[in-house]
C-alpha cells in the first residue's frame, strides 16, 4: 500500500470515527492527564449465558482513532492501568455517564483500519465510609 493510499484511508477513517456520527468523550488517564476526544459509541444489549440462566447485559463500545488516542492507551500496555471515561449515553449527547477501563477488559485493536475498540464497564461512586 502506497503512502498516498494510506493517507486516503486515514482520511476516511477520520471521517468515519470522528465525523458526523461521533460524540465527544473525555478520557482520564493513569498519568493524571485528561484527553478530550471524538469517538463513535455503540450501545447494545446482548444475551449472555454464564450458566443455564440467561442474563441480558448492556454493552457499550467506544471506537477511537488510533492516531488520536493517547499513546499509553494504544500501545497495548494496559496491564495495571486504569482509565476513566466520561461520555454521552444517548444519541444526542445530552446525558453523560462515567465508565471505567481496566486490564480485565482487553481492548481490540484493528491496526489495518486504524481503530481501537474499548469495552468499558460502568463506573459508580465509591460508597463513602462513615
Amino acid at each position: 500500500m502506497s503512502v498516498a493510499e494510506r493517507a486516503l484511508m486515514e482520511n476516511e477513517n477520520a471521517d468515519f470515527v470522528e465525523g458526523e456520527f461521533s460524540l465527544p468523550v473525555t478520557l482520564f488517564g493513569p498519568d493524571g492527564n485528561t484527553y478530550p476526544l471524538s469517538a463513535t459509541i455503540f450501545r447494545n444489549a446482548r444475551s449472555e449465558r454464564p450458566t443455564d440462566d440467561g442474563v441480558i447485559v448492556r454493552e457499550t463500545i467506544v471506537v477511537l482513532r488510533i492516531t488520536s488516542a493517547p499513546t499509553r492507551l494504544t500501545t497495548g500496555a494496559l496491564v495495571g492501568d486504569k482509565w476513566a471515561i466520561y461520555m454521552p449515553v444517548d444519541a444526542l449527547g445530552q446525558n453523560y455517564a462515567w465508565y471505567a477501563l481496566d486490564s480485565s477488559r482487553a481492548s481490540m485493536f484493528d491496526d489495518t483500519l486504524g481503530h481501537v475498540r474499548l469495552y468499558p464497564t460502568k463506573l459508580i461512586q465509591t460508597p463513602v465510609k462513615s
Binding site: G32, R46, T51, D53, V55, E59, T60, K82, A84, D102
Partner: protein
C-alpha cells in the same frame, strides 16, 4: 408432595434471613437483566430431581427419596471510583489519585459473589434452621447436605461484570401418597403457589396435604378437558 413444602420452606427461610442483601425467588428464571442484578443479587431456589431408591420405602406406603434442589446465584457489579473528584475540574495529581483508587468491576463482582455464597451457605447450614427443618418441624427431612457450590467464569462483555453459580442441596424425604385413588393433575398447582407466602415466618410454613390437590378436580374433569 412433601418436596414442594420443603422448597417453600427453604425459600421462606432465605427470604426472611437475607437482611436485604439478596432477593430470593422460588423458580428458575431463564432471563435476568444485569441492571437488576447490580441493585440486588438474585438467589433462585428450585427443585432439581428426586432419586427413589427401591431399597428404601415400601410399595404401598412411604417412598424414601433423596431430593436435590438447585440454588442458583447471580450477581453483577460495575466499577467503583471517586466520581465526585473527577467531576470537579481536578488537578493532575487528583486525577491520578482517583484513577489509582478505582476498583475494577471484575474484582468487585468476584468479591460480591463470594460474599453471596457465604451469606446463603450460612443461612442454609445454620444448625437452628436445619434442626427446625426450616420451620417444618424436626423430622420433616433428614441428611441435609450442601453437596457442592460452583462459580462460573465472569461474563466478559457488558457494562457490568456478571458472575453466576449454583449450589446443590440434597436431603432425604419420606414421600407418602395422600390418596389411593389417582387424581388427575392440572399442570400447575395454583393452590400450593397461593399458599406460599414469602413474607411469612418460616416457622409457620408447614406441609398441608390438603393444599396439594384440588378435591373439586376429578378425572371426569380431565376427560371433559381433553374432549372425551
Amino acid at each position: 408432595m412433601q418436596f414442594q413444602a420443603v422448597k417453600a420452606a427453604i425459600q421462606a427461610t432465605l427470604t426472611a434471613q437475607a437482611n436485604g442483601f439478596f432477593l430470593t425467588v422460588g423458580s428458575a428464571q431463564r432471563s435476568t437483566s444485569s441492571d437488576d442484578l447490580q441493585v440486588l443479587p438474585v438467589v433462585q431456589v428450585y427443585f432439581h430431581q428426586t432419586e427413589f431408591d427401591p431399597a428404601r420405602g415400601t410399595n404401598r406406603g412411604r417412598k424414601n427419596g433423596d431430593v436435590t434442589y438447585k440454588v442458583a446465584l447471580l450477581i453483577a457489579a460495575p466499577s467503583q471510583g471517586d466520581i465526585s473528584t473527577l467531576s470537579q475540574n481536578p488537578t493532575f495529581s487528583e486525577v491520578a489519585q482517583a484513577i489509582q483508587n478505582m476498583i475494577p468491576a471484575n474484582d468487585l463482582a468476584d468479591a460480591a459473589f463470594d460474599q453471596l455464597v457465604s451469606d446463603v451457605w450460612n443461612i442454609l447450614e445454620n444448625p437452628v434452621n436445619i434442626g427446625a427443618c426450616f420451620g417444618l418441624g424436626p423430622g420433616a427431612f433428614s441428611n441435609f447436605w450442601i453437596s457442592s457450590v460452583q462459580k462460573s467464569a465472569p461474563v466478559t462483555q457488558g457494562e457490568a461484570v456478571v458472575i453466576a453459580g449454583s449450589a446443590d442441596i440434597t436431603l432425604r424425604l419420606n414421600e407418602i401418597p395422600v390418596s389411593a385413588t389417582p387424581v388427575a393433575g392440572n399442570g400447575s398447582d395454583t393452590k400450593l403457589a397461593a399458599a406460599i407466602d414469602q413474607t411469612a415466618d418460616p416457622k409457620t410454613v408447614g406441609f398441608n396435604p390438603n393444599v396439594v390437590r384440588d378435591p373439586k378436580f376429578s378425572t371426569e374433569d380431565l376427560g371433559q378437558k381433553v374432549g372425551n
